[in-house]
């Protein structure tokens, strides 16, 4: 429960390349709280597949440009 997720993400970089979008603006578009966006960015929360697609849709990029799941152990 307390281990960070192995899923990495590029949300922070994508926000800045999309007009320096704030966490609050992204949260509003995805329909979650700002704290959830912060937790995802910091790897403290793995979003559902549906939420992951919603985030990718906001940035208009494929899912694997937002999230990655590195191989190996």
């Amino acid at each position: 429960m307390t281990k960070p997720t192995r899923i990495t993400n590029s949300i922070r970089a994508l926000r800045f390349t999309h007009g320096e979008m704030t966490q609050a603006q992204l949260a509003e578009q995805v329909g979650v709280t700002r704290q959830t966006i912060i937790a995802i960015e910091q790897g403290r929360y793995s979003p559902s597949l549906e939420m992951a697609f919603q985030i990718a849709r906001v940035f208009k990029v494929p899912l694997d440009q937002v999230f990655a799941y590195p191989g190996g152990t």
Partner: protein, 141 residues
């Protein structure tokens, strides 16, 4: 800190405070009165009601105006996880009360072990939720 995390802190403080008051009252009476004659019921009901009222008022106070009170899927997942992880305290309290009833213990001790089970359930659940908020929540694999 999200509204739900603040609410969890309020709930934890209210539970601990109410149980602390209850223990102070009842243990004081137990020192001079046999357990079977200790008037614990009013203290139990008043502290339980007080903790519920304090939780409700506290959540209203920490929530601020409308938009600040929003919760989402992560809050709900953390809530469910906390309830799931702490349910054993309820089971242990009920199990202990059952054994005590079969052994014909006094009502005072049976009621108090059930109350303790509820308090531990609430406190442990709050700790687990706060840990999940602070350190993260990941799906079970």
């Amino acid at each position: 800190m999200s509204y739900e995390e603040k609410g969890t802190w309020v709930y934890l403080v209210a539970c601990l405070g109410a149980y602390g008051v209850y223990l102070a009252i009842v243990l004081g009476r137990l020192a001079s009165t046999p357990a079977a004659h200790v008037p614990y019921i009013p203290a139990l009901l008043w502290t339980t009601g007080g903790s519920i009222l304090a939780s409700v008022l506290g959540r209203v106070l920490v929530g601020g105006p409308g938009p600040g009170r929003r919760s989402d899927v992560r809050d709900r997942e953390i809530y469910r996880f906390g309830e799931y992880a702490s349910r054993w305290f309820i089971v242990a309290g009920a199990g202990a009360a059952l054994v005590m009833a079969m052994a014909r213990w006094d009502y005072f001790w049976i009621a108090n072990v059930i109350y303790l089970g509820f308090v531990l359930w609430a406190v442990a659940g709050s700790f687990v939720k706060l840990l999940a908020y602070r350190r993260g929540l990941r799906p079970a694999r």
